[in-house]
């Protein structure tokens, strides 16, 4: 099933679409009128999701954000309720819109990598990777095997710490104090590990166009495997304990449920879609991820989304260990040293780049003229993640709110750009 993720012109003629395995551009006219609602969402993506309202006795708009202890980012939820049950949700992330894509225009492709990272700091590596792939596709640049493997390590590290963060938030919302503290310790350990090996707690400033922006010590990566395995063992112990806690499971079970049909109609990807039983992951179609185990779950609720994330943590740890070993072998064989720094890329062209970020498909379309960006479009997973929140939250009660929202892993910074 083809799903729209972006509109590249004002007339809705050029659409960015995907089918779960690749991303391409198609004509809007050939897509039919049935997708108008989806296109309105994409066209309104600087502001948020609005226009839904419920009226009735005692129903009011409870505004949650942009300054509240419960929503850490500057955005606002409009919850229509009569006091307990949530009847309808609108989401306003215009507070967070920074116009980063616009600020990238006329920049050199190298300078713009850093701006792509600034769209969403906790998806910084995924943004830099999708952007770099788009530029490399536009300019026909080959990427060395070692750089590709380093990118796999960066992307999987980002997946692990993001998933642990989400599970920590869920545990915290359920007042699982001891577990939350231990998960926070693992989360902090992962950020320190990122800093030790890639020079940034959030993996910024490392990935570049066809090369890394910093030199890397391949020998040290073997220590990374050891440390990440240690943190994974600690997480496994905690996760088994969490599954034994009826209190915790009860809060997640049947909360913010989404079935596969609805998830596909919304166009949401990543752990949210896989938690509805759909085996879709862009890494499955990447030859560098040979033998990937794709974690899925069936229920489509907050618990299923947590299960998928936990399984993906274990999967990513294995990928990192294997890839670090392969990198070491490549390094010892003396072929293809890791390139770092910037090279002159002064070509002209357009291209698409994408990757499986921690919360789903992240795609870039770029147009380049003589090495400078003429247009940039970032299709981010959080936009559709928030749409999934608005579709799944009605019917739940107020105290379900954090379990519902956090389990989707959607961020205002990512959606608002």
């Amino acid at each position: 099933m083809n799903r729209q993720i972006g509109i590249l012109d004002n007339d809705r003629n050029r659409l960015l679409v995907h089918d779960g395995s690749e991303v391409w551009i198609t004509s809007g006219k050939s897509s039919g009128a049935s997708i108008d609602g989806q296109l309105d969402l994409l066209a309104n993506r600087d502001k948020g999701i609005e226009g839904q309202e419920v009226f009735g006795d005692g129903v009011f708009d409870f505004r949650y954000g942009p300054v509240t202890g419960g929503v850490i980012e500057s955005g606002a939820y409009h919850l229509f309720t009569y006091g307990e049950r949530i009847l309808c949700v609108n989401i306003d992330w215009s507070y967070k819109h920074r116009g980063i894509e616009r600020s990238m225009i006329t920049q050199s492709v190298h300078d713009a990598v850093g701006r792509a990272e600034d769209i969403c700091g906790n998806f910084a590596f995924a943004h830099s990777l999708a952007f770099a792939k788009a530029v490399e596709s536009a300019l026909g640049i080959e990427v060395s095997m070692q750089t590709k493997k380093l990118r796999i390590i960066g992307l999987e590290l980002e997946r692990i710490y993001n998933h642990i963060y989400v599970i920590t938030q869920l545990a915290s919302a359920a007042a699982q104090k001891v577990m939350t503290s231990h998960l926070q310790a693992i989360y902090e350990g992962l950020l320190r590990l990122n800093n030790d090996f890639f020079g940034s707690r959030f993996l910024k400033g490392f990935n570049g166009i066809a090369a890394t922006r910093k030199p890397i010590n391949i020998e040290a990566l073997i220590h990374l495997s050891r440390r990440i395995n240690g943190l994974s063992d600690r997480f496994e112990y905690l996760y088994k304990r969490a599954l034994e806690s009826e209190n915790f499971m009860d809060r997640l079970h049947d909360t913010a449920k989404l079935d596969s049909e609805k998830a596909m109609t919304i166009g949401v990807t990543g752990p949210t879609l896989r938690a509805t039983g759909v085996r879709e992951d862009f890494r499955l179609h990447d030859p560098d991820y040979e033998g990937l185990r794709c974690a899925t779950s069936q229920m489509g609720d907050s618990l299923a989304r947590m299960e998928v994330r936990a399984e993906e943590v274990f999967g990513s740890v294995e990928i990192i260990s294997d890839t670090a070993g392969e990198l070491r072998e490549l390094s010892e064989s003396g072929i293809e040293p890791v390139e770092h720094g910037r090279r002159g890329h002064n070509g002209t062209g357009s291209g698409i780049g994408y990757c499986e970020s921690p919360s789903g498909l992240l795609a870039y379309h770029v147009e380049i003229e003589k090495g400078k960006l003429a247009s940039v479009y970032a299709a981010t997973p959080s936009l559709l993640g928030f749409k999934a929140i608005t579709e799944s939250l009605p019917g739940n009660i107020f105290t379900d709110f954090p379990f519902a929202v956090d389990s989707f892993g959607a961020y205002f910074a990512d959606a608002a750009r």
Binding site: E73, S94, Y95, Y165, Q184, E188
Partner: protein
Amino acid sequence: MKWWPVWGLTKRLTERKPYATEQTVETKIKIFRKSLHIYPIDVGNSNDLNLDIRALQAPQYNIHRFGIFFADVPRHADVLLVLGRPTEKMVPVLTETVNQMPEPFSIVVVENEDPTRRKSQTGVGIKSLNLPNVVAHLTNYREPGELIAVLLKIKGGTN
């Protein structure tokens, strides 16, 4: 499996290193020696600052031992942590939040944008807002230890 809290106690996760910073902290308030309540406000950062501030709650830092606590609302806070460079739409929200702070209060501005990318920065410069009681402005923030050091200076003590 050990009883859950016992398993936790055996881990000894809190680190013993000193937190130091060369950042100047301009405060004359002396009443926060025993406890300091902080409220972080995101004014448009790329979310890594928000997640890094969350990491302050990790047992490695154990900020409660210094008497530092997170407040749920600005009205209960002693220090407002302004995270990032404000978007235009967040400027009035930030101003109103500052108005809601109880006296005496301090503001710490935390930014982490790469200084080489200043030309392409979006949003409003924090200095142009003339916020009151800004006691520290961290322009190239790197990790939570720096922030703890600043908060300890505001408290008027060191660890």
